[in-house]
Amino acid sequence: MSALRHSRNGVAWVAARDVFNELLLTSCTVLALIAVLAPLLILFSLKFGLIDTLAQRLIEDVRNREIVIISSANLTADWFEKMRARDDVEFAVPTTRTIAASFNSVQHRAERKTVRGLSMIPTQTGDPLLGPLSDLIEEPEQVILSSLAAERLHVKVGQSLRARIQRTRNNSAEAQFLELEVVGIAENWAETEPAAFVSLDLLVATEDYRDGLAVSAFAWPGETPRNLIREFPRFRLYARSIYDIPGLRDHLVETERLDVRTQAAAIEAMRSLDQSLSTVFGIIATVAIGGFALALGSILAANVQRKRRELSVLRLIGAPLRAIVAFPVTQALIIATAGLVGSFIIFLLVSRGLNDIFDHAIRTGETISQLRFSHVVTACLTTIGLAVVSSLWAGSAATRIEPAEGLADV
């Protein structure tokens, strides 16, 4: 170890002993640091926790990634292929006219339960609304019920339902019955109306039947379909992430000339709130931390003045000038570390309290107040860095103390 390091360690050791010897003064300084740092940590954790929770909800809720078509369009299978090939599209499936997209009734005969006007929602493998359930439909007669529909029909997975599809042809009512197999129940899908997820083939067959056409796949009678390229008026379209929404929306509106509705405004509002809060937090943090750095610097400088005689003695007995700086720097490090520990203890207690208080408003895994490891590291490094910088002021004062001051009457 070099001579300078020995003497620097020696001075640092004296500084540490001084800090612990003057426990009252040290405690006051540490409390002053905690008074600044703990509220900042709590404020930041709230800002981060709330915004993160909101953002996570926006990101995780697939409905926020949905682009809803408002007007009617003429979209071909090729168009859907093109859309599915885009990087910003996760899922795209055609939908028929709204009026054709429902069963007239669905009956669970064993339980004597019937739901009338059950909506049909087309689905395919990879449907983000259904997740892994979307792989279950392999045959046109297989359906996945919304939990509300399953509840009203008292039906479980594996049971059968009887669906009625009705049309009016030549002024007389006709109907077809279809045995449906329930292959899944979409539990987590928040819905207002009961619905059934069906294959596109079944939906198209229903539309054709209602249009008076024959459907050979189900042996439903009617007019022979003309061999035209089928066009769909609507779609179910999901962007890959909420961040893809603006670009995808612009493409649909400007290039495809479609009227669509998205959650872009809500997403933008959240981003704007995050930015505003970040600015406010930044100002508060800068003022508070700046004030604390000044306060700590002046406390350390005052301590150097109080210990002027002892520091001059240290120099007189051989501590080099460069080692004397270690005196206020060491004290700053000890105070900053103690302040950080105290602040994090208070933060943890308050944070736990806040999360408990708002427990009813948050979902599993969400928190109102939270800090990431990177935030903790940043807080520690900033505090210690600022403490060291502010101690350099006192350090500079310490280096102006002459060793001769240790001798009386010089």
């Binding site: 170890m1 001579a3 300078l4 390091r5 020995h6 003497s7 360690n9 020696g10 001075v11 050791w13 004296v14 002993r17 001084d18 612990f20 010897n21 003057e22 005689r309 002892e310 003695v313 240290l314 120099r315 007189l316 007995i317 051989g318 501590a319 080099p320 000038l321 460069r322 080692a323 002459e402 060793p403 001769a404 240790g406 001798l407 009386a408 009457d409 010089v410």
Partner: protein, 249 residues
Amino acid sequence: MTGGVSKHDRLFVMKELSKTRPSSEKGQGFRLHVPFVQVEAKRVYALTGASGSGKSTFLALAAMALRPDEGGEFIFQPDANEVDIIALWHRHSVDQMAALRSKYVGVVLQQGGLISSLTVRDNILLPARLVGVDRSQQLAMLVSRLEIPGILKRRPAQISVGQRQRVAIARALINSPKLILADEPTASVDPLTADKIFDLLVQLVDETGAALIVASHDWDRVQRSGFSRLHQTVEANERGVVSTMEVAA
């Protein structure tokens, strides 16, 4: 002590060295002038001028803790090599002088100059800690000789003034320095204690073979202890006080 001494016995020599403090609102100006002083190893010297005659200023100059005026010569020779202290001041090599102090110079201050937050033991070992050497054997010897074994764990505020001076002596001697500078080491204690402390200091210095320079206003005590005297003449003129310090005839 003076001319005719071989270079090998010489610890330091000052020639035409001076330190001036300009007059201020608070007081008149002061100039310490050292025409020639040579200090030899294993000798004891006394500075016995009146208060304000520049004793502490001389000690600060000798401790390389105070920058002298321009001109003059100050050679420090703790071993075979001579160190030009004036050149070090010109280069502002204060850390090099600090290194010389920690290795070769021990200082006993008027009030002890102990660090209040450290125990007696830590105070004594502080110079050794600053250079990173283990001096526990030296500590045991000094504690025993200075009769302070029971107070090692106490803080300076918890011991008497006399004990503080003994601790200060132990601290000054812990690194076995070549030169010990003591500034009024017995000024704050009663005459009986002062005699004891003085005797102990002289004995220990004698045993270690160091040179000792003591500033003291008590000439009788110094004379009893067999010190050589560094003679001072103090004159007042229109610019203030001029103190001249020379080796006594």
